[in-house]
Amino acid sequence: MTSRLRVGVDAVSARAVALDEQDRIVAVHRGHPGGDSPSLLLGALIAEGIDAAAVDRVVAILPDHPVSDVVAGARVGVLRIGAPAATALPPLAGWPAQLSGALAGPVTMVRGGHEYDGRESAPLDLAAVAAFARGCAGNAEAVAVAAVHGLENPDHELRAAAVIADELGPDVPVIRGAETEALGLLEREHTAVLDAALARSARARIGELGAAVRAHNPDADLYVLRGDGTVLPALDALRHATASLGSSGAALVHGAARLAGTRTAAVVEVTARRAVVGTTHAGLLPDSGLRREIAGVRTGLRTPRLTSVERSGPSRLRAVLARARYGFDDLPVVIVGDRAATLPDPPDVRVIRPPEADLAAAVGAAVAEAAGTVDRIFWQGTGGRGDSVARARRLARDAAILAGADPRSLRESPVKEALMTYVPVPAARLRVTAIGPVLEPVTP
């Protein structure tokens, strides 16, 4: 009986690894950065002599889409639900003009939306939605729909998306703002528009890789790595190209710790240009509190805290490293990167320099877990704080399970609570993440 295998494909640094059930590396392929596609790397890894039938899943790190992909992307129809609210700022009105000019199809605001406590602000104007959908025919290859307080109540988004999908057919992706867990109508709308613009190139990239995986083993699952280093099922990745931005940096932190034989560490990647410091605590990267920007447009995507230090500042690197370990005196430091040897051991710290550190990101992909995060305003009018905290935790667990996590072994971050300012109301912003290993398929 051969061990089941998990494959990590790092298309950024052109590395692929296969791990067995004990996380031991059983096969490696080193390709040519910048030239080798994920499917090529996968094929070369399997050609190293592993049993393709034993591969349970493939997790891929895809290169970040360049801005030119967005500009050359699909023409996007944009529907905002919630008028008259937010009409002082129409969709895309504050974007870099070159970008909005390149991708904007029909842009419309219609009546509807909800309030912070889930009340309907106005009934959804279905006639206007239908007119917008007809206007998109032939003028948009993808559509983004975002509603005011759509996280609190996604009903109007869902109904509008159904009307649009009926009108335009299955070949036009309709991306909803509430598919991104982020506070802020603009942030969700922007993410949906960018995902819609990139849907075609995402389909091409993931379609090619998916075909390669199926050719090797039709039963293997394909995941794409998210920007926080957790997995995104391939079917979701088709609709959320932006979700995988920055994934190679996050994967490197997870993978470097794993190569060092730990789940909790400060990781330093040293290259010719700079050093990057990150930490992982039991598989979770701390959140930077910042939202990712793409081509000058703010998205709803959270970014993990990775601090970049120019090579000219060794004293600053020491300071950054000290801060990363502040309060965690036994946190080991894992040093990787092609110039790792140029960084002397920090004093009074357990330092690990794992072998084969160039595989760190690929290993980080292969061992990646599935997570779900909730970050929204919960109204506490009926069941009080206890109910809303319970609801937030359940939503996070549900999201993690949908992303592929094993429901039997989920862990949770503490619930972060922020009260509403300036007007005292029984509502609070709650943030919680559930994370766990990917559910293994049942083996006969």
């Binding site: 937010a86 002082a88 502040y326 007007v423």
Partner: protein, 359 residues
């Protein structure tokens, strides 16, 4: 500054964050709102109060509500016109210019947006010279000017007016109607003329935002002296640097009260905040307090951040900045001193000799 054109927006909004003292809303929405308005209506003229006849009526404007609600449900394009019509109908004459009520990223942007939408100039001054949480906390009221009449306009065309009453009661009443309006409203208060503004003399507010915002853009966060451009532009001081260890909030007496704990090289520093940062202390010693500004800059980016958006493990610099001297008078402190916010301490102006943990 003669006008706010698109090229100046980033500086103006970035600088307005300085006056938010850790509150006042995230700058991104303000930047987007103002960009959209300037693209649609052209640059917004900035004017001084003495450019008008002394009895010319001006339109004080403030965005009321909760920043987290506003980023979901921004203002409607019709609110500005509804507000102006209500104010002009009651006054019996036309408004000559828009008057920002407070400085903060949302409220500087919204005042300029309203001016753009109404085709009016915007006065280069404001009534608070910082962000404060209640519409009755202004230099105008400090000068004896009554707060009413207050006009509150909601997104769906709702207009509520409070024509007379005690100032602090009216502040409570405005907050009381906010939930029904979805926590977002455009508000005007005070009956103000250009002559009132000229006498008040809190001039150059928007220009100051632009100047400080440009200096903030010049910050080099990695260098020990990297904050000097910003500090000299705002007259500020670096109080301490540290890592966010904990953010705790609890709701007492209706206001959310919070405490940020910072690990610094000189022990724990503590920031007490409600809507804005109010007190920074270390080991029981108050280093700086309201009414002075207490801001937090992210050590990695150099950008000023909202206190409610802090993440544990984030490295920040605590920076204090001066406010209008009138807030430091006994009468001013009665409205916005530490005790007005429920803290039983005397106000403290930062003494540079107490700086700790600066790298």
């Amino acid at each position: 500054m003669k006008h706010v054109a698109e090229a100046a927006i980033d500086d103006v909004v970035r600088g307005a964050v300085h006056f938010g003292s850790g509150g006042g809303g995230d700058p991104y929405l303000g930047q987007q709102l103002l960009t959209a308005a300037v693209r649609r209506h052209g640059p917004v003229p900035l004017v001084a109060a003495d450019e008008f006849a002394p009895d010319a009526l001006v339109l004080p404007v403030v965005s009321g509500g909760t920043p987290d609600a506003l980023i979901e449900k921004a203002h409607s394009a019709a609110e500005a016109e509804t507000l102006r019509s209500a104010v002009e109908a009651r006054a019996g004459r036309e408004c000559a210019a828009v008057l920002p009520v407070q400085l903060g990223s949302v409220n500087v942007a919204v005042a300029l947006v309203v001016a753009a939408e109404l085709g009016l100039p915007c006065l280069d001054l404001d009534l608070m010279r910082r962000t404060l949480p209640s519409i009755d906390m202004t230099l105008l009221r400090l000068a004896g000017h009554p707060v009413p009449p207050i006009t509150v306009v909601g997104g769906a065309g709702v207009v509520a007016e409070f024509s007379s009453g005690a100032d602090t009661v009216l502040g409570e009443l405005v907050r009381a109607v906010m939930p029904g309006l979805g926590l977002v409203a455009l508000i005007s208060a005070y009956r103000v003329t250009a002559g009132d503004c000229a006498r008040l003399g809190a001039a150059g507010s928007i220009s100051a935002c632009a100047r400080i915002g440009a200096a903030l853009a010049d910050v080099s966060p990695a260098r020990p002296d990297g904050y000097d451009p910003y500090l000299s532009a705002c007259g500020g001081r670096l109080v301490c640097s540290g890592t966010v260890a904990e953010i705790a909030q609890y709701s007492a007496d209706g206001w959310p009260r919070g405490v940020v704990s910072l690990q610094t090289s000189g022990g724990y520093a503590r920031i007490d905040f409600q809507n804005e940062n109010l007190i920074v202390s270390r080991e029981g010693t108050v280093l700086a307090s309201v009414p002075d500004l207490i801001g937090l800059a992210d050590a990695d980016t150099g950008a000023l951040v909202q206190t409610v958006d802090l993440a544990v493990g984030q490295d920040v610099h605590v920076i204090t900045g001066p406010v209008d001297e009138r807030w430091h008078t006994p009468e001013g402190l009665a409205i916005v001193g530490p005790r007005a916010f429920g803290y039983d301490i005397d106000p403290v102006r930062f003494d540079s000799r107490l700086a700790v943990g600066s790298r």
